[in-house]
């Protein structure tokens, strides 16, 4: 029995399906970032005033919030998103936590230089990253992915 669907129609159908799948994926990724940004704004509301911790914490710095949002938007879509928390010095704390012994922690304050540190089993270290507001260096991405991967590093520093 012959097929009633031409090869051209099959191709059009497949292309349309691919576009739909890609759009769904983009929406879902955008949704994850949007969820993060909503959490960030809720945290900003909660911790905007000095003493938000019931002690001597500084309110989250507006510049830290802006830079955190820009940083999250600049993260490539194949990177895991961090968890967000407020730091008593008015910075935003970002944590990528794979397990208790594999963590990557970043602090975003008023300046465009971000402090970060990592712990990956027996190895650990710290460094500073300068953010231009748009792009995230390959070295930083590789460092995060090394901590968050399943043991196979999918990124390599250039």
């Amino acid at each position: 029995m012959g097929s009633a669907v031409s090869p051209e129609a099959t191709h059009v159908f497949k292309t349309a399906s691919d576009v739909a799948a890609s759009t769904e994926s983009s929406v879902s990724l955008f949704g994850a970032k949007q969820t993060f940004i909503s959490q960030l704004r809720a945290l900003a509301y909660e911790c905007s005033a000095d003493g938000w911790d019931g002690d001597d914490a500084l309110g989250l710095h507006p510049s830290a919030l802006r830079q955190t949002e820009a940083f999250i938007r600049a993260l490539p879509n194949d990177m895991p998103l961090p968890e967000v928390a407020a730091d008593p010095d008015g910075s935003v704390s970002l944590d990528w936590i794979r397990s208790k012994h594999r963590m990557f922690s970043m602090s975003i304050g008023a300046s465009n230089r971000f402090a970060y540190a990592w712990l990956n089993g027996a190895s650990r270290g710290h460094a500073v990253f300068s953010f231009d507001g748009q792009s995230i260096s390959q070295v930083l991405r590789a460092s995060i992915m090394e901590v968050m991967s399943d043991g196979v590093t999918s990124f390599r520093a250039a």
Binding site: L43, G54, E83, A85, H101, S105, A117, R124, G125
Partner: protein, 141 residues
């Protein structure tokens, strides 16, 4: 060796357990306590802890309630004094109140506060990774 009003020795022994009470919901997750929970306060540049382990729970949570004050007490990060000394930090008794101690000598770099923060984060990561998080539970009295 000198004894403090609590009856504890002035010097904190490597084998002692320490408790850091957690009063921010964003400072822990299912893996445990996040590094940010260990960063020092702004006034004294030190991290308050209690010289106490997971047990007896009733006394732990009484101390936690006092430390939390009007804040919500979510739990306690329990870790060993030796862990502190694996970093460049020190832990020293700081009574009153009874059993109180402080983690001090956080890295200082007055000419580059961001670089200083990255060193502090690394020390806080070591503390977080060697901690057991105990969720607050109301104990029957």
């Amino acid at each position: 060796m000198a004894l403090l009003p609590s009856g504890l020795p002035d010097e904190v022994d490597d084998a002692e357990d320490l408790a850091r009470f957690v009063t921010q919901s964003s400072h822990f997750n299912t893996c445990g306590v996040k590094p940010v929970a260990f960063l020092p306060d702004r006034t004294h540049d030190e991290t308050s802890v209690s010289r106490h382990g997971e047990q007896p729970a009733e006394r732990l949570w009484k101390m936690g309630a006092v430390a939390a004050g009007t804040r919500t007490l979510y739990g306690a990060a329990i870790f060993n004094a030796k862990t502190v000394r694996q970093t460049e930090l020190v832990v020293q008794s700081a009574e009153p109140p009874d059993f109180h101690a402080a983690i001090r000598k956080w890295p200082v770099e007055t000419n580059d506060p961001v670089s200083m923060k990255s060193r502090r984060l690394e020390a806080a990561l070591v503390l977080a990774s060697n901690t057991k998080f105990v969720r607050y539970q109301l104990t029957e009295s």
